[in-house]
């Protein structure tokens, strides 16, 4: 499966500034593994050591929020990586 990953600005130091990347995988876990191969270190900033999405990160597949890395990704989908933060 081929998809597009939209990268939030706090993570673009890992993507050489790219806001979108093409990636492969049938699940979010596979997409992130592919992303990690291309951009070493990026996964751990989003996902903790127990494969949980970090508290201030949100992952969407198209318009649906994915709360588990087992979420399916289909050909042509867009995965959105969103950072949620408030306060000063």
């Amino acid at each position: 499966m081929s998809c597009t990953v939209r990268i939030a600005s706090p993570l673009r130091s890992y993507t050489a500034g790219a806001a979108t990347l093409a990636a492969h995988g049938g699940t979010l876990a596979e997409v992130l593994a592919h992303l990690e191969q291309r951009c070493p270190g990026i996964r751990f900033r989003m996902i903790d050591e127990h494969d949980r999405i970090r508290p201030h990160m949100k992952l969407f597949v198209n318009h649906s929020e994915a709360r588990e890395l087992s979420a399916a990704v289909r050909d042509g989908d867009t995965v959105h990586v969103i950072c949620a933060l408030s306060g000063g």
Partner: protein
Amino acid sequence: MASTVWIGTRKGLFALRAGRGSWKLAGPQFLGHIIHHVIQDPREPAVLLMAAKTGHLGPTVYRSTDRGRNWREAAQPPAFRPVTDGETARAVERVFWLTPGHRSERATWYAGSAPAGLFRSSDGGERWEPLAGFNDHPQRPQWAANATPDGQFLHSILVDPNDPRHLYVAISVGGVFESTNAGRDWTPLNEGCAADFLPDPNAPYGHDPHCVVQHPLKPDRLYQQNHCGIYRLDRPARRWQRIGEAMPKKIGDIGFPIVLHPRDPDTAWVLPMDGQTVWPRTSLDGKPAVYRTRDGGRSWRRLDRGLPRSQAWFTVLRQAMCSDGRERPALYFGTTAGEVWASGNLGDSWRCIARHLPQIYSVSHAA
């Protein structure tokens, strides 16, 4: 010898470099990142390690091999091991503390995290492994059962200069712990420390050390600034002595940092804060002052020349005060109000060398 004072803040990394009679502020690097600790490697002075995260992103460690000009992220940052069914899955929320290993172990580093965890790198900080002897100790769930509102930190990782296998660590609301076998096993070391917030005044653990330091030339001499007082311990004794009792009663002996004279084990500096009622943790009465002992804590002298005389309500956090390690050391501290203060005369007088920075978390000197 060129001097750099590294300033880790809530919003990035800054450097103060000594010039002719003045200091030049450089940075920020990593603007927007939360910098908890920056430490030079005394075994390889061009190397620095930095503990960082952002508000969104997970915690990590960066390494510089060119005195802080360029940084590269660790390939494997500190992380707890995978869990088996039924176990609580702890995740590192922040890397809070960094300590270089023994001089005979040139590539070894230690890191402390929140929630309380201990990690070791054997390759200069590139790849980190959880130290199972501590993180999986059968009593660890009891030792680290509680947390302060800002999290539960493991800090003050001390490596005995005379024995690389002899380690100390401290946990905020956990206590001080000692290992004599390179971290394979640990025992609490809190006898004599007050824990006014615990129902059992003689509890073996659960105390709240804020900062524990070991004298480099006399490693059996430990000092501790605790949530409940200032203490000294001369090993092999196991009972801490409350040397803060000699502080003026109206000042008390509550604070975060404690800094030692690098050559004189009897000289130390603290920066008291207000620990009354709801614990404001600001300068007492808005009048900041450093206190110095030159006799191992039997007496203390107030040092406030140059510091604001009134209406200064800052806090100095545990990693935010240091010496430069020289024969006659210069002293530095950074405040939660974004100021850096320096003293070139053992604390007798102070001057502000930087202001308007973000909230300062750590101040460290690099030669």
